[in-house]
């Protein structure tokens, strides 16, 4: 497991079945086509070793092309993709389509993208488990799920997700959700980590100034120190590099608490 020199947080975390997940991955929504391929290539060149896509994003082919090129030169990149909600009952067919577009024989991490119809989607979850048992995916999880929906999966199958992905930023901080994931041994991963909290919020700006960083880096560092992985997206190489460069500083406890408090402040 790679370790961070100054911050002491791990740069990656081990999920079930030995999968080593980088704590910072590259998000690809809503990039498509050549723009997506070039962005993923740039991200990999800058050091990203995890790429997040989804059937829904319509960019699996572009992601697959970039990842295949990297793997051809000996650079291994972890790939996450997601089952579209409208594929209930067609999960295996959907997975095989994703594998073909991604040019992979196995997806590293496969998630249910949204709770189908607001249900837990137990039938689909059984198919994810079966895909893992069949060696077509390494780890499985869900996205945009409540804890109640996750518990329904666990009660029905005895199998907890390895990871849950959800929109997560300071404005959405939920201590109970984070604790519930930890209790169940589920890794939390933030999608859209930089979208839901104004980057010009004084708390973020001041914290960034103290550390000689940007507010975006402060948010990603805050995620890391909470043990939350993140998949920020950018099409700009400079921004990609910035988002990955979050292992060389550490937020103080009071800074963490001040950022945690943004959620309550945003509600009131």
């Amino acid at each position: 497991m790679a370790m961070d020199e100054k911050g002491s947080e791990a740069a990656s975390v081990r999920l079930g079945f030995g999968l080593e997940l980088p704590m910072i991955g590259f998000g690809t929504f809503p990039l498509r086509g050549e723009t997506a391929r070039r962005a993923v290539e740039s991200a990999i060149a800058l050091g990203y070793r995890s790429v997040d896509t989804a059937m829904r994003y319509r960019n699996e082919d572009a992601v697959g092309a970039a990842v295949a090129e990297a793997r051809a030169t000996g650079t291994d990149v972890l790939v996450t993709t997601k089952l579209a909600t409208d594929q209930v009952g067609h999960e295996r067919e959907a997975l095989l389509g994703s594998l073909r577009r991604l040019r992979l024989s196995r997806v590293d991490l496969w998630l249910i993208h949204w709770p189908p119809g607001g249900s837990a989607g137990v039938g689909s979850w059984r198919e994810l488990i079966r895909a893992r048992d069949d060696g077509l995916v390494s780890a499985i999880g869900v996205s945009n799920y409540s804890i109640a929906q996750i518990d329904r999966l666990i009660e029905s199958t005895g199998t907890a997700p390895d990871l849950v992905q959800r929109s997560w930023g300071p404005n959405e901080f939920d201590e109970n959700y984070l604790a519930a994931c930890a209790e169940r041994g589920i890794m939390l991963c933030a999608h859209s980590p930089l979208r839901t909290t104004p980057l010009d919020h004084p708390v973020l700006v001041e914290t960034a100034r103290r550390h000689g960083r940007t507010p975006a880096q402060v948010i990603l560092r805050w995620d890391l120190q909470h043990g939350v992985a993140a998949v920020p997206k950018s099409a700009e190489p400079a921004r990609m590099a910035e988002n990955l460069d979050v292992f060389g500083f550490r937020l103080a406890d009071e800074e963490m608490r001040a950022i945690d408090a943004l959620a309550a402040a945003s509600v009131s």
Binding site: T85, V88, G117
Partner: protein
């Protein structure tokens, strides 16, 4: 929001007019269709039994706008009675804006958008609970009939031929389907989808929308595809089958 009053389902004279001027390029239609699909995902991905049509329409509008589009000026597609319309969303059947949709009944809906003067549309049918065998059969019948039609789309073929093939295909496996309709729309001058002349052969450069609707014993069903005639490429990726969200 209003309901249509279409007394002749075969009339379905849907002209989703969005602008006047030059016929838009295939790439412009592709983009408009992509934005319509964003609206589709806003329905399907966020759907729960607690939502009302008005709430769904609001989700759709927000997503469509964030993707760079807006509702088409004529948003009453597909024209079928009864139907419920608001902004970019049409839901087949008689619905009230504040009434939750029944979980066991099919929810047949269309999204119609305008992106920089070009219309785009997608349609689908979903159900929030396990459907009956009859509903599955009826949906499969309509979807298979539409697929058969799409296989025949080519330059030189008339919409009348396509409609005949469609009606014959439904008739072979009718189940409880009734009032089945095939609408063939094509991009006309003025950046609009207009009902194609039934007897005029399709041109290879046409982009057409082929929309199949019918009533089943359980409610309305719609499947649809946007196709570039020359390449036979389908520009939208919405599943042409009953979507089961459960």
């Amino acid at each position: 929001m209003h309901e249509t009053a279409c007394d002749d389902p075969f009339r379905l004279a849907s002209a989703v007019r969005t602008d006047t001027g030059m016929r838009p390029s295939v790439s412009a239609v592709r983009e408009a269709t992509r934005v319509a699909e964003v609206g589709y995902t806003a329905v399907v991905d966020r759907m729960t039994p607690a939502l009302t049509p008005a709430e769904i329409a609001a989700n759709v509008l927000r997503s469509v706008r964030s993707a760079g589009g807006g509702p088409a000026p004529d948003n009453t597609f597909p024209r079928r009675d009864p139907a419920w319309h608001q902004d970019a969303l049409t839901v087949l059947g008689a619905h009230r804006e504040d009434e939750r949709l029944a979980a066991q009944a099919p929810i047949a809906f269309a999204i119609t958008v305008n992106v920089a003067g070009t219309a785009g549309t997608v349609a689908a049918t979903m159900v929030l609970d396990e459907p009956s065998a009859q509903l599955r059969h009826d949906a499969a019948t309509l979807a298979d009939a539409l697929r058969g039609v799409l296989d025949q789309v080519a330059a030189g073929v008339t919409p009348l031929v396509l409609e005949s093939a469609f009606l014959a295909a439904v008739e072979r496996r009718r189940g409880t389907l009734r009032r089945e309709t095939l609408a063939v729309l094509r991009l006309a001058g003025g950046s609009a989808f207009e009902t194609a002349d039934a007897t005029k052969a399709l041109d290879g450069t046409d982009v057409i929308v082929v929309s199949a609707t019918a009533d089943s014993a359980h409610g309305g069903i719609v499947f649809q595809a946007t196709v570039h005639v020359d390449s036979a490429e389908r520009l939208d990726g919405v599943p042409m089958r009953l979507i089961e969200l459960r």
